[in-house]
């Protein structure tokens, strides 16, 4: 409480009225609570690879890039395929599912990716593709497993020349 001296020398006491301040605070807090987002969002940076007919550069014909494809198959199976390079490599590495087809074998995937990174150091791009019924949550899980080994990941974005059934 503060006091003010008046003209005749007597001190007058007054109280600060905080009711209007509480009114403002109530309105502000209500608005901010309604507009607040309490989710912590983050994002994976991926590219899109679209297959289709197109011209291939001459230098790529002579020395095709080495591409690793991670295929997500129904029944939670994975298949890693390394294709390309000067030696025309085409190797497949299947990974079985965990717990009787109920879980993706992400630890084995990470282990296999590290092995492939040592065996084929020239692998540049990793493409992730999946069967039609595989859900997005599982795709994110696999991308999360691939990212520590290969930062550049592409999602296969369909075929622009595919005939629509």
């Amino acid at each position: 409480m503060s006091s003010v001296s008046s003209d005749n020398g007597k001190n007058e006491e007054f109280e600060l009225n905080i009711v209007p301040i509480i009114d403002c605070f109530t309105v502000l807090i209500a608005y901010l609570l309604l507009s607040a987002s309490f989710l912590s969002l983050a994002a994976f940076d991926v590219g899109v690879s679209v297959s289709g007919e197109g011209a291939i550069a001459e230098d790529q014909l002579k020395d095709p890039p080495l591409v690793l494809t991670v295929k997500m198959i129904d029944n939670k199976r994975l298949e890693l395929q390394v294709v390309g390079g000067k030696d025309q490599i085409n190797e497949k590495f299947p990974i079985t599912s965990l717990a009787g087809n109920s879980k993706w074998n992400i630890p084995e995937l990470k282990k296999k990716l590290d092995e492939l990174k040592k065996k084929f150091p020239k692998i540049g791009d990793v493409s992730v593709t999946a069967d039609a019924s595989v859900i997005y949550k599982d795709i994110i899980q696999v991308i999360e497993g691939v990212k520590p080994s290969y930062s550049k990941v592409f999602l296969a974005g369909g075929n622009e020349n595919k005939v629509q059934q």
Partner: protein
């Protein structure tokens, strides 16, 4: 009876400071739709503000406007050329118009529900790639 509101004022000040601190003034509304359940993943990358495409149970939204109808995450009666939807392609190309030409923006925010099947996602991505959006940010909930 005098009501003691000094304590309430203290609480309100603290609440207000906290909410003001977390208040965001970004141009892009990054809150997912009510029905959109984003997948969880641990990732350190931050989100860049860019055009947003949202895939929810019954529609595909571009910048919060419905462009395509879905039925339980699957396309129902929409026409495609290959895997590309003309409607979605046009909607994405429209988003380039307000920006100065040439608009080389290739970033796209994708907020898809975790239950979205790959068949649907594939078509949306093919349309986005055709419109020139080849650098995607797949939005997830960071549990940490």
């Amino acid at each position: 009876m005098n009501l003691q509101i000094t304590s309430m004022a203290d609480i309100f000040v603290i609440l207000l400071v906290f909410l003001l601190k977390s208040y965001s003034t970004s141009i892009v509304n990054l809150s997912p739709s009510d029905t959109n359940k984003l997948p969880e993943a641990s990732v350190e990358s931050t989100i860049k503000e860019t055009l947003k495409v949202e895939i929810v149970q019954n529609s595909v939204l571009v910048d919060q406007k419905e462009v395509l109808r879905l039925k339980d995450f699957e396309f129902n009666g929409e026409t495609f050329v290959g895997d590309v939807s003309e409607k979605l392609l046009q909607a994405l190309k429209e988003q380039r118009k307000p920006n100065p030409i040439p608009n080389m923006e290739s970033n796209l925010l994708v907020m898809a529900d975790e239950r979205t099947p790959y068949a649907t996602l594939e078509k949306v991505l093919a349309s986005a790639a055709q419109a020139g959006f080849v650098d995607l940010q797949l939005v997830v909930i960071n549990p940490e």
